[in-house]
């Protein structure tokens, strides 16, 4: 059985201007020991998706529908007290902004110990020992002294390592990483990717990786879901999505990336911008940006269709077997 299975999840936000359909009917599965990628541009709902799994949706937001089955139990049926015991211990999360996610007035060691003492009931000394071990594990040199540093004394890459140490300190079975490399320099990005790759193998943790960077997907993920306008438009094993992308949005994104390994004369333009999720258009949400839309695309939202082994596409045109070009 899958470790995490999200079924038909809907998370809406009640704002002054109307109901924002941030996550609108999403299905997502993370298998044990595997890395699932969730790719999309800003505003597509991928962070809200992650926060829904953690049950950390802010007040204005509501999970209206769906199930989040984690290790066989529905997280949406848990009481707040039960969720406290799951968060950090069973599922933990690395946030994008490493500067605002760490407490600026606490030594980083204390912040790692906090999670360990809370969830594993270790005493101060044992927790300190474990914290030093974790810092060493995430590749920080001389962890015994670094543990007394405050966040501002560390560089961006080191802060992200500390975040990873906190997240992994209680051996969670699922790690959710929300854009873990976005605010970092390319060289540091590469270090963090290598670190994550090594750690999930060593600690046997499953990873839900949220990113907008297909390069990182290619390196880390076993399977990818592409999200657009609050919905998943395509899901496929990593190799398949790069070799045989189905949805026009996936194709557009892949051709919009400048490549270092080949010469490109011109990048593909995905014209326009993401749709407003307050009153999204009827029909397919990508319709207004799609190069080849038909009458039905404006009327009805396409259902996911299996176009290959484990490869789902939600598109009236590409979501049919054998159709590769319009």
């Amino acid at each position: 059985m899958a470790l995490l299975e999200v079924r038909n999840l809907k998370t809406y936000f009640d704002t002054a201007r109307g109901m924002v359909q941030a996550v609108d009917g999403i299905n997502l599965t993370v298998e044990r020991g595997k890395t699932e990628g969730l790719v999309g541009e800003s505003g597509c709902g991928k962070t809200v998706m992650a926060l829904s799994v953690m049950r950390l949706i802010p007040n204005r937001g509501k999970i209206l529908n769906g199930e989040i089955i984690f290790e066989g139990e529905d997280l949406l049926q848990k009481t707040p007290a039960e969720m406290v015991r799951i968060r950090g211990r069973k599922i933990s999360m690395i946030f994008q902004d490493h500067l605002s996610s760490l407490n600026p007035v606490l030594q980083v060691g204390k912040q790692i110990e906090e999670a360990i003492r809370k969830h594993q009931g270790l005493d101060r000394l044992a927790a300190r020992e474990k914290a030093i071990k974790m810092l060493g594990l995430v590749g920080i040199s001389s962890p015994e002294t670094r543990i007394k540093d405050y966040p501002h004394q560390l560089s961006g890459g080191m802060r992200q390592r500390v975040m990873i140490a906190i997240a992994l300190s209680c051996n969670p079975s699922l790690l959710i990483a929300d854009e873990p490399t976005t605010a970092l320099d390319v060289t540091i990005q590469a270090q963090i990717v290598e670190l994550l790759k090594r750690l999930i193998k060593e600690l046997d943790t499953s990873l839900l990786l949220i990113t907008h960077d297909f390069g990182i997907v290619a390196e880390l993920c076993d399977r990818v879901s592409v999200m657009y306008g609050g919905q998943i438009v395509e899901r496929a094993p990593t190799r398949e999505i790069f070799k045989n992308p189905g949805h026009p949005y996936t194709r557009g994104l892949l051709n919009a990336i400048p490549r270092i390994d080949r010469d490109m004369d011109r990048l593909d333009n995905v014209y326009g911008a993401v749709p407003n999720l307050i009153s999204p258009p009827d029909g397919c949400r990508f319709c207004s940006r799609c190069p080849g839309h038909y009458e039905i695309c404006h009327r009805k939202n396409p259902e996911p269709v299996e176009v290959g082994p484990d490869h789902l596409v939600s598109c009236w045109i590409y979501g049919q077997k054998g159709v590769t070009h319009v």
């Binding site: 800003s42 080191m158 320099d185 390319v186 390069g215």
Partner: protein
Amino acid sequence: MSDILVEAKNLTRHFQSSGFPARKRALIHAVDGVSFSIKKGETLGLVGESGCGKSTVGRLLLRLIEPTAGEVYFNGQAIYELGRQEMQLLRREMQIIFQDPFSSLNPRMTIKDIIGEPLDIHGLAVKGNKKAKIFELLEMVGLSSEHAGRYPHEFSGGQRQRIGIARALALRPRFIVADEPVSSLDVSIRAQILNLLKDLQKNLGLTYLFIAHDLSIVKYLSDRVAVMYLGKIMETGSANSIFQRPCHPYTRSLLDAVAIPDPDVQRKRLILNEDEPNLSRPPFGCPFHPRCPQAMERCRREEPLLMELDSEHQAACHLAD
């Protein structure tokens, strides 16, 4: 007349860091003896990690800040020797596009005022003609005249960056410094802006200094590339030679760091061990040696100078001998 538009010679800028007490203040060598030239109509990509001094170079070229030492020649003219009025006249020729499309537009000004401001300052706005000019600029960057009366908050990041570009183009400059213009944008929007910059260069004959930390973006736009580390140029050359035959270990590690969106590409990466060192205490010898996997005894003692490898490729590394 030579075909070089912008030339920097031994450009240096030090900053005094803040600190308390005063003895904790340090001198930061943001830019340290940088020389290069940019030909008319070409793009020089300036690459490096954050804090390497690449933005400071961009600002020095436009004389938005004064140098500690060194010279910049624009079309043969030494710009630091110009008086205030002459400098203002020259600013029509050189403009900048900023990284952050949110903080670089005044939230209380409408789009037509933002784009029209440079025209007013330089006295180029004749009544009636100004409006037409603004509409033309908006169209040039892919917006429409109906946007003119709106405020920046009504636009997305990509559209704001287009407004920033329109403002930079208002005076019909010949040279534009683009300081990480796409680093805060999404993939599909990034492609739109990169294509726009490329088209504008072709149609208007612009010369760019393109500052970025991501080599794949630099590769897409640049004719020549300069790689900076700790305020110094480590390697420079034509885009082809840099990407096909990188000589400096730092350039190689930057290239290796770029994630390639292809699961079949298997690479052995040269991963740098440490985060970037302190700018106020640059290491002795080669600035890169503490992080360099191939550092030798000589690198600790002696600083390598930029050396010519062939007519269009220079590197500052003892290994390149």
